[in-house]
C-alpha cells in the first residue's frame, strides 16, 4: 500500500520537464531522507545514543539507582581501577581461554555434522532438524538440564565415566572444581550453540557447484582429494565468517556462568560480561560497569578487525 503510493509519487515527480530539475532533485532528496528516516532514527535512539551515553557514564561515578550522594565527573578513574583490578584480568583471561577452547570444539562439531548431513542419507531433513534442536532450546533450560548431568558425585556423567573405566576414573566435580568448571561450560555451550554454525556450513556446502566435483572425479581425484581440493577451498569464506561470529559470541559469555557457577569456583569462570553485570547490578556502580562495557566493545572491535586483516585474502 505505502510502497505503491511512494512509487506513484516518484513517477509523478519524474514526469515534469527537465527545466524543473532542481525542484525534482529536492523532492527526490526528501523522498530518500523520508525512507531513510525510520532506520536512522531507530539506530540513533537504540544504538548510537546509548553507545555515546555509555562513554559518558563511564567517566562518572553514576550509581545504578539514585543515591543521596552527588554524581561526579571522575575522568578516567573507572578505567584505571578496572586495569588495577586483578579480577578483571582473570575475567579477560577466562573468556580468552573459553574462546580458544570453544572454537575448535563448536566449529569442529558443526563442520562434521554439516558434512554428514550434506550426504544423501535417508531421513536427511529429519536429522537436520534433530541436530538443530539444541540451538532453538533456551540456554537457561539447557543449563538446568546439564547441571543435573554434571552433578557430583552421582550425576549421569560421573556414573557413565565410572562405568566405562570400570571405576578407575574418580567422580569429577565438573562445576565445583576450578580446574574443570570452565571446561564443563565449554562442553555445554558448544553442544547448545553448534546448530547455528552447522546451518551456515550446510549453506556453504550447498553453494559449492556440483560441476567442480564432477570435474575432479574425471581427473581421478578420490574422496579425500576432492575434500581437500574442492570442499575446503570452496568453504573458505564460510570458515572465516563462522570463526568471526563464534569469537564474538564467545567473548560475550554470560548466561551459562550466571546460572551455573556465578563466576566461581575461585573466579575460574568469571567472564567480562558477568563481571560487568556484577559490578553494575550487585555493587550498583553504573559508571564503573559502563567503563567495562566500553573496554569490552574495544576488545571485540580489535579482535574482529584483526581477524579480518589476517584473513583478508580469503575475502568474505
Amino acid at each position: 500500500m505505502s510502497m505503491s503510493s511512494a512509487g506513484a509519487a516518484a513517477t509523478a515527480a519524474q514526469r515534469p520537464a527537465p527545466r524543473k530539475g532542481a525542484r525534482r532533485d529536492r523532492i527526490r532528496l526528501f523522498q530518500e531522507m523520508g525512507m531513510l528516516a525510520p532506520a536512522v532514527i531507530l539506530m540513533t535512539v537504540f544504538l548510537i545514543a546509548p553507545f555515546i551515553l555509555s562513554f559518558w557514564t563511564a567517566m562518572t561515578n553514576q550509581p545504578l539507582v539514585p543515591r543521596p550522594t552527588p554524581v561526579r565527573f571522575v575522568g578516567l578513574a573507572n578505567f584505571i581501577r578496572i586495569f588495577n583490578d586483578p579480577l578483571f584480568w582473570t575475567a579477560l583471561w577466562n573468556v580468552t581461554r573459553f574462546t580458544i577452547w570453544i572454537i575448535p570444539v563448536q566449529c569442529g562439531l558443526a563442520f562434521l555434522t554439516a558434512l554428514l548431513l550434506h550426504q544423501k542419507i535417508p531421513f536427511r531433513n529429519l536429522f537436520r532438524g534433530l541436530f538443530f534442536l539444541p540451538a532453538i532450546t533456551s540456554m537457561v533450560v539447557v543449563c538446568v538440564i546439564w547441571a543435573t548431568l554434571f552433578q557430583y558425585p552421582t550425576g549421569p556423567f560421573n556414573q557413565i565415566l565410572g562405568f566405562l573405566s570400570f571405576g578407575m576414573i574418580q567422580p569429577i566435580d565438573w562445576l565445583g572444581d576450578p580446574n574443570w568448571a570452565m571446561f564443563s561450560i565449554v562442553l555445554l555451550s558448544a553442544w547448545q550453540a553448534y546448530g547455528f554454525q552447522m546451518i551456515i556450513y550446510l549453506a556453504g556446502l550447498q553453494g559449492i557447484s556440483e560441476e567442480l566435483y564432477d570435474a575432479a572425479r574425471i581427473d581421478g581425484a578420490n574422496a579425500l582429494q576432492r575434500f581437500w581440493n574442492v570442499t575446503m577451498p570452496g568453504l573458505r569464506p564460510t570458515h572465516v565468517f563462522v570463526l568471526v561470529i563464534t569469537t564474538i559470541q564467545a567473548f560475550k559469555l554470560y548466561t551459562q556462568v550466571a546460572i551455573l557457577t556465578q563466576g566461581g569456583p575461585k573466579n575460574s569462570t568469571e567472564t567480562v560480561v558477568h563481571y560487568m553485570v556484577r559490578i553494575g547490578y550487585e555493587e550498583q556502580k553504573l559508571g564503573y560497569a559502563s567503563a567495562v562495557s566500553v573496554i569490552l566493545f574495544l576488545i571485540v572491535l580489535v579482535i574482529a578487525l584483526l581477524q579480518r586483516f589476517l584473513l583478508r585474502r580469503y575475502d568474505v
Binding site: P66, G176, Q262, E282
Partner: protein, 429 residues
C-alpha cells in the same frame, strides 16, 4: 448507523471499565519466596480483598537470588511497589537511599506492641531510630546433628546455648564423625545454596564474630584492619581446613545430604527453616544444637525477610492495613508454622510450640537473646556482603586466606569512600 452504535457502546464500555478500575485502590506488593509462600500470599490477598472490596492487591514476584537486582530495576523504571519484602540487613541501604517510609503510624498498634525485641531491631534504622519494616518472623541458624552418628562417637549433646560445643570439641567431633561408617561428609554448611547467596554472609559471619572479629568495624565503619585481622584469618583458615579435609559437603552435591538416602552428612549448619524438611524425613533422629563457640563468646545470626512500605506509595495507610492484616491472619500463620517459621511476634511465639521451652527449636529461640549479632546495619551492606561472598569462594577453593580477606576489606572500604562515607554514617550531619 450500525457502526456508530457499535462505537458508542464500546466507548461506554471502556469508560465503565476504567471507572470501575479507578474506584478500586491498587496496592502493589513485591515479594520473593518458594512456591508454597507464593501461594500463601495469593490466598492472603484474596482474603483481604474479600473483606475490603474497594482494594485490589497486586502481587509482584521476584526470585530470591536476583531480588535486589529486580528491586533496583523497579526503582530505575519508577515502578516501586507500595509494599516491598526486603532482607533485613539491606534495610539501612534502602532507607538511606530514600525508598522506605517509617511505618509506625500506619501499622495497627496491637501488632506493633506484639513485636519481639529482635523483630524491632531488624526493622529499625540506626540513624533516626524509627521503625521502617516489620515481619511475622525472625530467623536463626543452628547445628543439626544425626542422633545415631552422634551416639556412635559418644558426643555430648548440648542442652542450651550456655553449654554449646567449643571449637576444640566441635573439630574433634568432626574428626571422629569422618571415620564413622556411612558418613560421607561430617558436615553440610549448605555450600549448595551457591556462591552468590546471602546465606554465606548470614551463616558464616557469626563464626567470625564468635572468633572475635567482624566483617567491618562497627564504630569507624572501616573493614581493613577488621576483616583481615588475625582472628578472622584464623577462623577462615579453620573453615578452609574443613573443606580441604573433605569434611564439608561440596557445592555441587545439593542441599539435602543431611537427610538424603543413607544420611551421608552427619551434621548440618542450617537455618531454622531446614528443620521442617529434615524432621519430615528423619523424625526423632534430628538433634538441634546451638552454634558452637569459636572463641570467648558465642554468636548467631538473625534478621529475615520483612515488610516495608515505600516512599512511592500513594496509599501508605491502606498498605499498612494490608501488612497488619497479613501479620494477624490465622491461615497465613498456620502456613508459616508448617515451614518451622521462627516467631517474630510474641503472640505467634505463644502459638509456636516448636520454639517454646522443651520444643525442638527452643535452642534457636534462646540464641536470639543470648548470642544474636545482626549483620552490619550500614548502607554499604550490599558491597560488604558481595565482597565477603567472593572471599569465601576463594578460600573454600584453596585460595590464600589472608589475601582473600584483605582484598574483600579493601573492596568494602573503596565502596564506602566512593559514596563519601554514606553520610551521616561517617559522623557528619
Amino acid at each position: 448507523m450500525g457502526k456508530r452504535l457499535l462505537l458508542a457502546s464500546s466507548v461506554a464500555a471502556i469508560l465503565a471499565f476504567s471507572a470501575s478500575a479507578e474506584a478500586k485502590t491498587v496496592i502493589k506488593m513485591m515479594h520473593q519466596g518458594d512456591p508454597g509462600w507464593v501461594a500463601a500470599y495469593g490466598d492472603l490477598a484474596k482474603r483481604f480483598e474479600a473483606e475490603n472490596p474497594d482494594v485490589d492487591i497486586e502481587l509482584i514476584y521476584a526470585p530470591h537470588d536476583a531480588y535486589n537486582e529486580k528491586f533496583s530495576a523497579a526503582v530505575m523504571a519508577k515502578q516501586l511497589p507500595d509494599i516491598m519484602e526486603l532482607d533485613a540487613p539491606f534495610l539501612a541501604n534502602y532507607v538511606w537511599s530514600g525508598y522506605l517510609a517509617p511505618i509506625k503510624d500506619v501499622i495497627d498498634a496491637d501488632v506493633l506492641s506484639d513485636m519481639t525485641e529482635s523483630n524491632i531491631a531488624q526493622g529499625t534504622y540506626a540513624i533516626d531510630k524509627q521503625l521502617y519494616a516489620i515481619g511475622l518472623t525472625d530467623s536463626s541458624v543452628v547445628l543439626y546433628g544425626n542422633r545415631k552418628y552422634l551416639e556412635k562417637i559418644g558426643a555430648r549433646i548440648p542442652k542450651s546455648v550456655d553449654d554449646a560445643w567449643t571449637r576444640e570439641e566441635f573439630e574433634a567431633n568432626l574428626e571422629k564423625l569422618s571415620k564413622v561408617e556411612g558418613v560421607k561428609w561430617p558436615i553440610d554448611t549448605f555450600r549448595g545454596y551457591g556462591i552468590k547467596t546471602e546465606w554465606i554472609t548470614y551463616a558464616y559471619s557469626p563464626i567470625l564474630q564468635s572468633a572475635g572479629c567482624d566483617l567491618i568495624d562497627r564504630k569507624s565503619w572501616k573493614s581493613e584492619g577488621m576483616l583481615d585481622s588475625q582472628p578472622c584469618v584464623d577462623a577462615m583458615t579453620m573453615m578452609q581446613n574443613w573443606v580441604n579435609k573433605g569434611w564439608v559437603v561440596p557445592q555441587s552435591s545439593g542441599t539435602n545430604q543431611f537427610y538424603a538416602e543413607g544420611h551421608p552428612a552427619a551434621l548440618a549448619l542450617g537455618g531454622h527453616w531446614f528443620y521442617a524438611e529434615a524432621a519430615a524425613a528423619m523424625k526423632d533422629d534430628v538433634v538441634v544444637m546451638p552454634l558452637p563457640k569459636f572463641g570467648a563468646k558465642g554468636a548467631s545470626p538473625d534478621g529475615t525477610w520483612i515488610w516495608g512500605i515505600t516512599t512511592a506509595s500513594k496509599h501508605p495507610d491502606i498498605a499498612g492495613k494490608f501488612v497488619s492484616f497479613m501479620l494477624k491472619d490465622k491461615a497465613y500463620r498456620d502456613y508459616a508454622k508448617s515451614q518451622s517459621a521462627y516467631p517474630g511476634l510474641k503472640s505467634f511465639a505463644a502459638e509456636s510450640p516448636l520454639y517454646a521451652p522443651g520444643g525442638a527449636l527452643a535452642v534457636a529461640f534462646e540464641q536470639a537473646s543470648k548470642t544474636a549479632v545482626p549483620r552490619p546495619p550500614h548502607p554499604a551492606y550490599p558491597a560488604i556482603t558481595a565482597a565477603y561472598m567472593q572471599a569465601v569462594d576463594k578460600i573454600f577453593n584453596k585460595g590464600d586466606v589472608k589475601q582473600a580477606l584483605s582484598d574483600a576489606a579493601q573492596k568494602i572500604d573503596e565502596d564506602i569512600a566512593d559514596n563519601d562515607g554514606y553520610p551521616p554514617f561517617n559522623g557528619e550531619q
